[in-house]
Symmetry: C2
Subunit: 340 residues, 2 copies
């Protein structure tokens, strides 16, 4: 009833304004506003405007550098590194994207190592432009301990999302972006906000007991998806976004974090491959469509990104809905006492 | 009671003899015998000597070329392709391994695309020597449809294993090798052989009904691990081992397969990265040990490959046990009517 409706331009302007008021320069504010707007556009509200409070908190505490100037280095023939200068991830990624794409289109495969960044966004927003450039790509990032290693009892891994994208000629890319936990932490936060119970099997409380209370899970731990298999993938992501690129593991990120509610410092790894250079330069795109057709031919089965693209089409006409209460809380972030 | 005990050399000689008697030349027989022996050594019997019947069937039917001479091409700066010449995968992989390692140590990251191979082994045997060379690596392969896409009802994906390895200085590599199905097809075959029921939630019969009968599941379909997340990973592997490298999807492999009981034709993708070239050349190995120590510090939690290495140590003294019945069935593969 008290919902307000915003265009995507208005969402972007709102996010930019809040970030600028709280210590981001224009480049950093725009890069973060881009990913917040993309999340709202695609119906992923858990990564949209509701994250502004966390972004602002980490600017106010001084943890994140709102004037970060990322530096890009080609540290090996097919490895690009971006030092994020303690800023939010989006600007670092924007700086490294073209060098990654160029390296993959030269060598067939290339990697982008992002270090000294604060990551608080969805990975699919990062995969999409790389896939739109004609590459298939993998991305992963760790966080702070939230997931129990299989067989253990204490959180060690972050929710550690893994995202994958595949380029298409006449459609937006096929992309999945999935946490290594049964449920993403952002979804648990949304459930807590909305006062909804979680399904069984998602997580445990701080004493290791299964619970469906999202607040108890946020204080406790999440379970990995698929038992030991999801746990293995979470471990792999710790190594990719940590030891491989000279960045911290989730448990180390937590040790140095100031717990201001914003994202800790850490790293991210993206791998991109150019199907034009893998042996079937003429046929790969049409060939992939045969698989997608098989997936879509089964009733109940759909391509991983179908729901997001459907939301995107709907948002284009319906705009982004926001309750007056949430809108007020965002505006309050621009007031002197906004972060209190 | 009627168990026979063999040394690893005897296992290797037995496998080599059976393969040589059935149409493999020395190089192909030795390469396949290597992976069978490694499986028996590490207690992975589902990929050991019990696979010989399938290998032999596909030699006898003429589907697989026992005299394959793989050819290696560097098709891009960091992409190596091996055309397997319709042989079993192990020789193709042996030919491509050093070029992959060289490319990764030059460019930081590199890919190996194996095409026109017949893959019937465990991926960890392929990851281990790459990790022993100091690289971290990912490998994946498709098969024939056995796994239902999330939400659907008919098998589309292969069991599509994903394997990962991380090199260590004073220990063998940390490696996981996990099917995209809840349970590997090899494990279901072993259960069928041993007349054991499966746990609930592993698969469905040919009419899509859940069942714990391994034979019904082999005629029906497996479920992906972790619901839609495992299904997404299975899809990604179809694209990596299929469209990306100009090879077939699982459903296409099935269409052209002669169902002789041996492995269909298909492809495989391996990605290798050199941590020395990713920005922390001094510290990466010691840093990773801190994560492994955290995993092992939790009671009930262990490193993914721990059980295999424990089996390996035990096999070194205890040898490989084989029932007289199974041994007889292997010897029968060398007789003129052996494949009947």
């Amino acid at each position: 009833m008290s919902d307000l409706t915003f265009t995507l331009d208005e969402v972007h302007a709102l996010a930019t304004s809040v970030l600028s008021h709280n210590g981001c320069n224009a480049a950093n504010a725009a890069a973060v506003a881009d990913v917040i707007t993309a999340a709202e556009r695609d119906g992923c509200h858990s990564h949209g405007l509701m994250r502004l409070a966390g972004y602002v908190a980490s600017l106010k505490s001084g943890k994140v550098n709102g004037h970060a100037e990322p530096t890009v280095d080609k540290i090996a023939g097919a490895v690009v590194r971006v030092d994020g200068d303690s800023g939010f991830a989006p600007l670092a990624l924007a700086c490294g994207r073209e060098p990654l794409i160029d390296a993959a289109k030269t060598s067939g495969i290339a990697a982008l190592a992002l270090t000294d960044i604060h990551h608080f966004a969805a990975l699919w927003t990062e995969i999409e432009p790389i896939a739109e450039a004609g590459l298939c790509a993998l991305a992963c990032v760790s966080y702070k301990p939230a997931v129990i290693p299989a067989g253990g009892s204490k959180p060690l891994y972050g929710t550690n999302p893994l995202a994958f994208g595949w380029p298409r000629e006449d459609n937006p890319p096929v992309i999945f972006d999935q946490a290594s936990s049964v449920m993403a932490r952002g979804e648990v936060m949304l459930a807590a906000r909305e006062g909804k119970a979680l399904p069984a099997g998602v997580g445990v409380d701080k004493d290791g007991r299964e619970t469906t209370d999202p607040n108890e899970v946020l204080d406790g731990a999440l379970l990995a998806f698929g038992g030991h298999k999801g746990s293995s993938i979470a471990m792999m992501i710790e190594l990719f976004a940590g030891a491989l690129i000279g960045e911290c593991f989730s448990f180390e990120a937590a040790e140095r974090d100031n717990n201001d509610g914003g994202p800790p410092s850490g790293g991210e790894l993206i791998i991109a491959m150019d199907p034009q250079l893998f042996g079937d330069s003429e046929g790969w795109a049409a060939h992939a469509e045969k698989l997608f057709a098989q997936i879509e031919a089964q009733p109940g089965s759909r391509l991983p990104s179908a729901r997001r693209y459907s939301n995107r089409r709907e948002t284009a006409s319906a705009g982004v809905k926001l309750s007056a209460k949430v809108h007020d809380s965002i505006l309050a972030l621009c007031e002197p006492s906004g972060s209190a």
